[in-house]
């Protein structure tokens, strides 16, 4: 049917909206001057880093701002109707019938004490005059539309009985049952694993097409934006700084902030040697430091002029449908950008040094957790002992001075592997050796030299530092305790370490609550490197940081590694970050290693089928890139009772390449097949066949 896009008025029209919160110190402006339109059957992405106000905008549309939030200026029109200033009762009615919200945490929308069926049918029966039976049928239909396996049975289950991805699907089904004109989604897939996220994103696309819904999609992930959004609004420090179609925003960004963001996002395919990530210097201004009469990005902008500091730009329309809050967008060409002097010296592309001797050797490592069985027999001590096989038969080697990236989704065992190496968990079997030390010894019994040489960087910047002590005290502690350094020398060494992570000496006296996320993470790195370790394990060190800060921290780690020839093991779930950062990559699934080798080999064929599915699922921050569309169905099996044979056989999309539909995958454990000396794959499918697969990503 070839009718063109009807020119209807936008479903949502936001004009110069400003939202503030009341606090002890007065009113804080969270959002200032945001304008955008959302049409039917379009997804409008609101993108920005933490603190930019994107969630505030989303909540502000439906006035879910809490007791102390208020819309102080501007207009928000839904279907031509002004929402600002409406009474609670009117808004509630609109919210029920025509606007739906989906949150990051599905349990915010689901009642844990009612069955899913009850909650779904309630949405229908409350508003319409239909029988329970009819409502139930419609609900099952909707569940099928969101690809919920076993829809009829799911109706009788409780929320805690289904997985996170399935919960989110139920929430989306609930949101769509009343056929809303506007759907607001606030980071709905951030908490989900990559493969599950891919399925949910596909779902959102389908539904938009079928129901003509207008969607406002809030996220910080540029990859997701490229995949699902048609139009994008970029927010910075409470203001919308650029609005345009998704192709324009990624292909020809106009605002210096957007251009900066594009430069610090790792793209699948770039290598450590090939491309460098450039962070945006400076910090996001706190709400009270945002000037009203100047461009808020000017302090961090490479192109700022006097005019930028004294006059505030409005959203200027440079091309049809593409606006930018900058006076000079026409004159700035991102191709001509070159890094400033303080960035150049640190980030020269690195040559591949030849691989040294393996410094960490792990062979057939098994770490199991005992599960308390709930049967009566176990009370008497006679029950079956259940184990969670967190790490099962993992063997790998890491050469000195190189980085091994470990990827996998939640529950794959990568964190447990790190904890076992560091000594926080004790292995059940297998050997692990590092510099001649046996790693199966728990940390409390380890030699001081081993502890000095094996340190860890943690994931969450907010909990990596003890809030009661200053930065100087915390970095100094390993020096005093492990290094047996004389107290008078400690302060000097701490300052040297602070400088190495690009923080100046004034940070010595600061408390963690005075630091930003990126700064805290850097202090964590300084603390880990204080004892000059040979091997540093980084457990998702940048996952909790904003994109622009990630780049800075990653570059920092690279520099330190190069300066000290430290070996690193980098655990992450973000495949593009791992690619940028690692020399070798290991892919884990359900406690098993399924593929390991040099990074270039992992990201190009031959692939282990799970790796292929993982790479197909990662959202790439490039709307023009072509990516295979392999999706995994079902959920990750329980680690208490892992599948026989190959752990991936229950979900493998390539199983039918083997005779009998892959019977062998169920009965026998796959062999390790060596593609090259360093690259091996854990699969029954013959290597020649694996080599014939097309690469997952091809960018134009």
């Amino acid at each position: 049917m070839s009718n063109p896009q009807k020119t209807h008025a936008p479903i949502l029209k936001v004009e110069h909206a400003a939202i503030s919160y009341e606090t002890r110190y007065g009113d804080v402006e969270a959002v200032r001057d945001v304008s955008f339109d959302v049409h039917r059957a379009t997804t409008f992405g609101v993108v920005g880093e933490s603190g930019c106000g994107k969630s505030t905008v989303a909540f502000g549309i439906v006035d879910f701002l809490g007791a102390n939030g208020k819309i102080v200026d501007g207009s928000i029109k839904f279907q031509g109707r002004e929402l600002v200033g409406r009474s609670d009762a009117e808004l509630r009615k609109l919210r029920g019938d025509q606007i739906s919200m989906v949150y990051q945490d599905p349990m915010q929308a689901l009642n844990p004490s009612l069955t899913l069926g009850d909650q779904l049918t309630e949405v229908l029966t409350i508003h319409r005059d239909i029988s329970n039976q009819e409502a139930r049928e419609r609900s099952i239909e909707m569940l099928k539309r969101v690809y919920m396996p076993d829809a009829a049975n799911v109706m009788d289950r409780y929320p805690h009985q289904i997985s996170g991805g399935q919960q989110q699907r139920v929430v989306i089904a609930m949101a769509l049952l009343n056929n809303p004109a506007l759907l607001i989604m606030d980071e709905p897939t951030t908490a989900l694993d990559v493969t599950v996220e891919a399925v949910v994103l596909d779902l959102i696309e389908d539904l938009k097409r079928d129901f003509d819904t207008a969607i406002v999609y809030i996220t910080h992930d540029l990859g997701v934006v490229a995949r699902v959004c048609n139009e994008v609004g970029v927010m910075y420090a409470g203001e919308m700084v650029e609005v345009g179609s998704v192709e324009k925003i990624f292909g020809e960004p106009l605002h210096p902030y957007t251009q900066g963001l594009m430069r610090c996002v790792p793209k699948l395919g770039s290598t450590k040697e090939g491309s460098i990530l450039y962070p945006i210097r400076g910090r996001v201004p706190a709400p009270k430091d945002r000037p009203k009469g100047a461009c808020i990005f000017a302090p961090r902008c490479d192109y700022a002029t006097d005019r930028c500091l004294s006059e505030k730009p409005g959203l200027i329309s440079y091309r049809e449908g593409h606006l930018s809050r900058c006076f000079y967008s026409d004159e700035i060409n991102p191709e001509d950008w070159s890094p400033s002097s303080d960035m150049i010296s640190s980030f020269s592309p690195q040559e591949t040094a030849p691989a040294g001797e393996p410094i960490l050797k792990i062979d057939d490592l098994k770490t199991y957790y005992d599960q308390e069985s709930k049967s009566l027999l176990s009370l008497v001590g006679m029950g079956e002992k259940l184990h969670v096989k967190a790490v099962d038969k993992v063997s790998l080697e890491v050469p000195k001075g190189k980085t091994l990236g470990v990827v996998g989704e939640s529950g794959c065992g990568k964190s447990t592997l790190a904890k076992t190496i560091v000594g926080l968990e004790t292995p059940r079997g297998g050997t692990a050796e590092f510099l001649g030390f046996d790693l199966s010894v728990p940390v409390s019994d380890r030699d001081v030299k081993l502890i000095q040489d094996l340190q860890m960087v943690f994931q969450n910047p907010d909990s990596t530092m003890n809030p009661s002590y200053t930065v100087g005290q915390q970095i100094g502690r390993p020096l005093r305790h492990l290094g047996k350094m004389h107290p008078s020398e400690v302060k000097e060494e701490v300052i040297r370490l602070l400088n190495a992570v690009r923080l100046d000496g004034s940070y010595y006296k600061r408390l963690p609550r005075q630091l930003s996320g990126g700064e805290k993470q850097r202090v964590g790195i300084a603390r880990a490197f204080a004892s000059q370790p040979e091997l540093v394990l980084c457990d998702e060190p940048v996952s909790a940081l904003d994109v622009s800060v990630q780049a800075a921290v990653l570059n920092l780690l690279l520099d330190i590694q190069r300066d000290h020839n430290t070996t690193m093991m980098f655990i992450a779930h973000d495949l593009s970050v791992v690619r940028f950062f690692s020399d070798y990559v290991a892919v884990m699934y359900l406690g098993h290693l399924v593929e390991i080798g040099p990074a270039e080999n992992i990201y190009s064929p031959p692939y282990q089928p799970y790796t292929e599915a993982l790479l197909s699922a990662v959202p790439i921050p490039d709307p023009t890139a072509e990516q295979k569309h392999i999706r995994l169905h079902g959920t990750v099996p329980s680690a208490l009772n892992p599948p026989s044979g190959c752990p991936f056989h229950t979900r493998c999309p390539r199983r039918d390449l083997l005779p009998d539909g892959g019977k062998i995958c169920e009965t026998e454990e796959p062999p390790w097949q060596y593609n090259t000396e360093e690259h091996r794959i854990y699969c029954h499918i013959p290597l020649e066949e694996l080599r014939t697969f097309d690469p997952v990503v091809t960018s134009r």
């Binding site: 049917m1 070839s2 009718n3 063109p4 009807k6 209807h8 008025a9 479903i11 039917r40 029109k77 279907q79 031509g80 109707r81 009615k93 029920g96 019938d97 025509q98 409350i126 508003h127 319409r128 005059d129 239909i130 009343n178 056929n179 809303p180 004109a181 129901f211 003509d212 819904t213 207008a214």
Partner: protein, 215 residues
């Protein structure tokens, strides 16, 4: 080719207790001329159109200038709308031409589309126009030829067969009985990947068919 395919989903709607002034603002802001009036759960309660906004003169006759202003500002949608029982509606699964017949016969500009009495969309004259344009291939580039043929079985197949034999694609076609000539039938065909001359050359060959117009 059902109502569901051409209707506008999520139509702009108003509530019965809304003031006329507000309803007018909404009409202006969203550029629509028909507003379904909905209650709880998008249940249809009535319909308001620009024409309906006119106040019957008999109501106003007895009021003076000041009272008129007050009367007008107090006017609610429910005072002016067409009540539900008088609103003609349709359902998504009806053929488009059936809906069009209703609109012509009743001389109305729009039909709210309901499912269980809940408004799921609206189909208007403009949508029918879009359908018409689509049917005749108005949005596509190509050669448009009007053929007059005898009103008999198999004649149309001759024309389409001749075109497809040449490997050309047909975008759209629509036919009607020739006005004032029941023995004949006019058919418009939009063809792509072809030049006017080539197309004319082929269609001229067909016996009994006359090319009325080509552009």
């Amino acid at each position: 080719m059902f109502v569901r395919d051409y209707m506008t989903r999520h139509p702009v709607m108003v509530e019965p207790n809304m003031s006329i002034v507000e309803a007018q603002d909404i009409m202006a802001e969203t550029k629509v001329r028909h507003l379904p009036v909905a209650g709880e759960g998008k249940r249809l309660l009535g319909l308001i159109t620009r024409q309906r906004m006119r106040i019957p003169p008999t109501e106003l006759a007895s009021l003076n200038v000041w009272e008129i202003t007050r009367y007008l500002s107090n006017l609610c949608v429910k005072d002016v709308m067409v009540k539900r029982k008088n609103v003609i509606t349709t359902i998504p699964d009806i053929a488009l031409e059936e809906a069009a017949k209703v609109m012509t016969e009743e001389k109305i500009g729009c039909l709210p589309v309901l499912e269980d009495d809940i408004v799921v969309g609206i189909i208007t004259e403009i949508d029918m126009m879009t359908l018409l344009t689509d049917l005749l291939g108005g949005y596509e580039a190509g050669v448009r030829v009007t053929l007059r043929m005898p009103n008999q079985k198999g004649e149309l197949a001759k024309a389409t067969g001749a075109i497809s034999d040449q490997g050309w694609g047909i975008y759209a076609s629509g036919g009607v009985k020739t006005p004032k000539d029941p023995g004949h039938w006019d058919c418009v065909i939009k063809v792509r990947d072809v030049s006017q001359e080539d197309l004319v050359a082929v269609l001229e060959q067909i016996e009994g068919h006359e090319i009325i117009d080509v552009r």
